[in-house]
């Protein structure tokens, strides 16, 4: 049970590298499971398990077409990750900009001191 809870958000879902590969594969459009199996070189049950995790967090959606199950990406579910990265990135960009100001002062001072 504890393990099931660990996949409850998008961050966790994409922490697994093979799941990121699945998402990458789906950026090009909808694909049936067997195509993902071929692309990833993993056994079908493994791929299905990863897909289930991705579905639980809403990162992929599925629809049946005839005998095929087709999976597609739902990028909206990955927004929390994007938002986090953006916030973190902005802070560090601001820091580096201010740091450059500090460094200009240090350089001037050093030139003066000779």
């Amino acid at each position: 049970m504890a393990r099931a809870a660990t996949t409850a958000d998008a961050f966790n879902a994409v922490a697994e590298p093979r799941r990121r590969e699945i998402l990458d594969a789906l950026t090009g459009g909808e694909r049936p499971v067997n195509e993902l199996v071929d692309l990833l070189g993993l056994a079908q049950p493994h791929v299905s398990r990863h897909l289930r995790v991705l579905r639980e967090v809403g990162a992929v959606e599925v629809r049946d077409e005839g005998r095929q199950r087709l999976y597609r990406l739902n990028p909206e579910a990955l927004k929390p990750i994007h938002d986090w990265v953006a916030g973190y990135q902005h802070l560090w960009e601001e820091r580096f900009e201010l740091l450059e100001g500090v460094l200009e002062d240090l350089k001037d001072q050093e030139d003066k001191d000779g």
Partner: protein
């Protein structure tokens, strides 16, 4: 991808437990190092444009402790502390970082940050900050219980951090 000019920052995830930030700044290595390790200079940049730093305590030696406090514009305090694990002047600083959560005992060593300073073209310096969220303790837990528990801890930490930044 080659880093050709200053001003471009890259954020990458080298592994499930790591975040790597790389940026080239237009100044020689010894000055960048000085700005990074001198409290009155750290105060000028570390809070970004999100607030004022009220505390920048740095017992800058291996085993020494540091603590930064900033008051964000929203009038709340955010504090971080840790210890220095490794110091190679003008090259490398390894330090732990724990974010202090109000009303919570901040246990554990937190994340480990490795800051590296390298020469870049034209007298500039490339700074890399590698954040390793997997402490030994967490990493051992990961080894014993499968990846997901450990990674989750990392992301919880990151989400808390993100919440404090906005």
């Amino acid at each position: 991808m080659a880093q050709t000019s200053s001003g471009t920052m890259e954020v990458t995830f080298p592994s499930d437990e790591q975040i790597l930030i790389t940026r080239t700044v237009n100044a020689p290595r010894h000055l960048v190092y000085r700005a990074w390790t001198t409290p009155e200079l750290v105060r000028k940049w570390w809070a970004g444009r999100r607030g004022e730093m009220t505390v920048a305590d740095m017992d800058f030696r291996v085993g020494g402790a540091w603590r930064y406090v900033m008051v964000a514009h929203g009038e709340f305090e955010v504090a971080f502390h840790g210890t220095y694990r490794e110091i190679v002047p003008n090259e490398r600083i390894v330090q732990t970082e724990v974010m202090e959560m109000p009303g919570e005992e901040s246990g554990g060593e937190g994340v480990v940050n490795t800051v590296t300073f390298r020469d870049a073209d034209g007298g500039a310096t490339t700074v890399s900050i590698l954040t390793d969220a997997g402490s030994k303790e967490v990493r051992d837990t990961i080894a014993q219980s499968g990846m997901e528990g450990g990674v989750r801890e990392q992301f919880e930490l990151i989400e808390e951090l993100a919440a404090s930044l906005t």
